[in-house]
Amino acid sequence: MTKNIRCAMFGVVLLSVAAQVQAELIGLDDQELGAVDGEGIGFILEDFAFEAGTDVANGNRLDISGIKNKNGQDVVLSVSQFYVAGAGSNRGANVIGNPVNLGRLLYPYNLELVDGDTIGIADKAVFEYSAPQRQIGSVSGTDSLLVLATETRTEQRFPNQQQSYGQRVDRVTGIDTSVLSSRAAERADFGIRYDLNVAGSQAQSLEGHAQGVAIDGSYIRLWGENNEMVGNLALKVFASDLTFYACDSAGNNCGQDVRFQNFVLENELGWGEKQPVTFKVDSSGNFTIEVGRLNSACADLNSSGGCSLGSAGYADFYNNGPRADIHIGNVSVGGSDFGSATISNMQIQYLRATSRDL
């Protein structure tokens, strides 16, 4: 695969460095490491543009092979026409000469060793890779892009049984972009094309384009626990516009746009050491992702498995624990609107996903 890459990086900024230099390297235990904080690197990509795989017909693409269909035939998924550019990329037509700044000096991307005590992971040094941080929104009042309207729900679980009472999300009323540190010029356009080849025959082409993308607030945190690596993840994505459309096997005769406007994904997995996320690969090559099971922390149980004593830990989880929100402001196809889609305040109490051969 040949590539046409234009990439410029003007700033790599060392935010802080170790103040002392030791002549002898001495291993640190967890407690000593846990007190380490702030040594890290912040970096920005200034005037960045990337374009690859434009000449698809001449093999200018990345082929993902080794995939079979249910009949055992070879399937090849090709990826091409990938680009990253500034606003106004016109679906990849205006990439070179139209760069974007990813991060800036005040709000860079960070590689950092964090004192775990400050983020709910006691006596651990936590490796953190993070995108520019978020702000408290002037409208949302939180670090979420979603402006939520809540409602008081008073519903019984069954006639003549306990009535549920409380404030819960009713709908999304707006998008508060003041949460983002990335300014409009720091939100990228992305695009990609997929082609499908089944048993040597070109079958389908699909293009996707995203405008105004920011991942502010995302992070990966990793640390060691009982001789295994555990972590917490947050993936927070905003795109002002996502567009998909299909084309024929040659990439021509493309159909109407399927548009997602104001796409918001705010997904947190794991909650400090109380609910770590683990990733394992077994000897057969299959993998397991696990979001730790919330074990009963009640001092005493009632007859239905809840807490009759000591529910404060759970109250903290349900009020302040990790959550996921997914929202699409409007789905439109051609000239028709299919409205908004929202999954709000989703909290995972346990997740275990294990791969296996089909």
């Binding site: 679980r157 069954f158 049984q161 299909a246 759970y314 275990r352 089909l358």
Partner: protein, 299 residues
């Protein structure tokens, strides 16, 4: 894994891509070989909130409040919802020489467990087998009808079932209504039949059909939101064919050679035989199970 162990691994078939055609529609399906256990809660699952002709303004294709998968056991442990082989699928159609993306769906090879929520509106296919002791039917009947049932040999312990599954419908008219439905029950024309413990004349019941949400004055339509927890799968056997889709036109999604027709917009399919209730559940609803350790429906 050691280098040697890694060295003997060859392409794990955990990912599969299939392409099929049905009529004018081409399908491309991406399947992941996975076993998933999940316990989760969500304030709101709402898809397709837009004004739709003939429907209540401000309503949605699918709206489920306090949605949850899995449950909490009495001993304070979690009982996760089981999913195998999740997939997503795209549907394409050639329209006047243009290749159109006309649908997308997210589905599961199989699903088993508790699905809870207050279903305010549902566009889709939810077919529920209704089978059980006849006592709740007799209790719901007036004295005259109860007498007729007794004369026909239908006692409290007689086992009856609906001839066809209960479906989404208009809870006022009994007409099937797969779009933004708020009710479920025996659609007009459906009837009951005797399975066991039947009297000599019990067979007459299948000639008594539902009309305008009633059979002999016994209500046969119910509010969907009264069914707070659904058992997906039956007798510990997973249900197959569960999916959530969005399409711009009527599409029949294909599973194992069998099509499930859908309508434009968001659509949820809970397959035939996936859920079974008795007559007590039908008349009274199903109690929401505990889904949180600190649960507003219980604590």
């Amino acid at each position: 894994m050691t280098d040697e162990e890694l060295g003997v691994q060859t392409g794990q078939a955990f990912f599969q891509i299939d392409r099929d055609t049905s009529g004018a529609v081409d399908f491309t399906k991406f399947t992941f070989g996975m076993d998933i256990d999940i316990s989760m809660n969500s304030d709101l699952v709402e898809l397709g909130r837009y004004d739709r002709s003939g429907e209540t303004p401000g309503s949605s294709d699918i709206r489920i409040n306090d949605f949850a998968l899995g449950s909490v056991n009495n001993d304070g442990t979690l009982n996760p919802f089981h999913i195998t082989d999740p997939f997503f699928e795209l549907a394409f159609e050639d329209v006047n020489g243009k290749e159109e993306l006309v649908g997308i769906r997210l589905g599961f090879g199989s699903a088993l467990g508790k699905l809870s929520g207050n279903i305010e509106s549902l566009t889709g296919n939810l077919q529920v087998e209704v089978k059980g002791r006849a006592e709740p039917i007799r209790d719901a009947a007036g004295w005259f009808v109860r007498g007729l049932l007794g004369f026909a040999g239908i006692g409290d312990n007689t086992i009856m079932e609906s001839v066809n599954p209960a479906v989404l419908l208009n809870p006022s008219t009994g007409a099937p209504d797969p779009i933004r439905a708020t009710g479920i029950g025996l659609a007009n024309g459906n009837s009951l039949r005797c399975v066991s413990g039947c009297g000599a004349l019990s067979g007459v019941t299948q000639y008594l059909t539902a009309s305008n949400c009633a059979i002999l004055g016994i209500s046969t339509c119910f509010q969907l939101k009264n069914f707070r927890t659904l058992d997906v799968g039956k007798d510990n056997s997973p249900a197959t064919g569960m999916f959530l889709s969005f399409q711009t036109r009527n599409i029949s999604w294909i599973d194992n050679g069998v099509g499930t027709p859908t309508v434009p917009g968001a659509f949820m399919n809970i397959p035939n035989g996936g859920i079974s209730v008795d007559f007590d559940d039908s008349f009274n609803g199903i109690e929401r199970i505990r889904t949180k350790f600190l649960d507003p429906y219980y604590d």
